[in-house]
């Protein structure tokens, strides 16, 4: 059974919605992520269900079957490994790689991706700190806490971002923040959830509540 690039992108979209803890993905949430109409989503979801990749109950949202989940996981693996390649080998910045990976993930060769994994030194996390599933689909786990849950005086290292949109990543670059940055909380302002932090033991900066929410740190 062959799966089109479009079907693959839908599977990945559903996967990423379910990943965030939702019990099922709604038609509207998928249409937003895919930037297509709700009608198109209904069509496609039916096709995925017919192929036994998804389970669809009318008006009750979509889940993935074991097979659908497997495919989405392998797409995530490919996407993230290519991102590592682009950053580590071709020296792209972390905010430049998503669109290219979005295309590269559809190249069909398990052998190639396993060799790429090896060539890259079997990385466990992508340039945004997201875990890379191994050849069996197993995700690495890591202890991480969003910055907004830190208390004054606590310290940590940035290991991931909740959202990896280009504007957010570029904003972090501007602030001098990236994976590996050392942070100590100096002050927290209840009023708007912003905070003053000490960056890499050298620079004091103020960041908004939104930034705090989107940064994951290891204590």
């Amino acid at each position: 059974m062959k799966i089109s690039k479009t079907e693959e992108n839908y599977l990945k979209a559903i996967f990423s919605i379910l990943e965030k803890g939702k019990p099922s993905a709604s038609t509207n949430s998928i249409s937003q992520k895919m930037e297509t109409s709700a009608a198109s989503v209904t069509d496609m979801v039916k096709r995925l269900a017919k192929k036994k990749l998804a389970i669809h109950e009318s008006h009750k949202g979509v889940k993935l079957t074991k097979e659908g989940n497997k495919i989405a996981t392998m797409l995530t693996r490919k996407h993230r490994l290519w991102e590592v390649f682009l950053v580590d080998k071709l020296d792209f910045l972390w905010d430049e790689v998503h669109e290219m990976a979005e295309e590269l993930e559809h190249i069909q060769s398990k052998e190639m991706i396993d060799r790429l994994d090896n060539f890259l030194g079997n990385p466990k996390f992508d340039p945004h700190g997201d875990p890379i599933p191994d050849a069996d689909g197993k995700f690495a786990t890591r202890q991480q806490t969003p910055l907004n849950e830190f208390k004054v005086g606590e310290k940590g290292t940035v290991v991931g971002v909740r959202e990896s949109s280009t504007p957010f990543l570029q904003y972090l670059d501007q602030l001098g923040l990236g994976l590996g940055s050392k942070i100590e909380i100096l002050e927290k302002y209840e009023y708007d959830n912003s905070a003053k932090i000490l960056l890499n033991k050298s620079k004091e900066i103020v960041i908004t509540g939104k930034v705090c929410l989107n940064l994951f740190l290891q204590k």
Copy 2:
């Protein structure tokens, strides 16, 4: 103006037919290369003409415009650079890479391909000895002669193959022949154009006229 993957593959097919010296590509020759019906070719050729990528005169075949030629050249560049990547970095064999490159060539990023070129050390020839156009579309040239034009006693080094189908390449592997192999002609048999050669100054083997025709050597 955006060009679909299918349109790109047609451009490349037309390009490769014209490359062999033909003044124009016939509908049938394209349909053979693309493994589609002649009717589909006519349809597509009209679309390419409408986009000013090809010139089509009814019943007289197709040529490429400057723009069409440029695009086909860049696709060839991408295809061949990815083949080098797969062989040099991921350790694939020369007969394993074509299908993957056939997909990779459609990834849309000039910046990425220029960086890949650089990462690979700006190779001038692909794993089959075919020239890789540079960022401006210029092909490297090289003095090369098909083995069948060699005379008894002459020596040379294999630098390319005329045809790079998997069966042919695997057959060469079996014979112990590849790019860089040193060859001296020991005997030529007029009867069926086969020849006895000394391979790498150590092994005597007999090869058919067909093989002689498909190997390019540098004297």
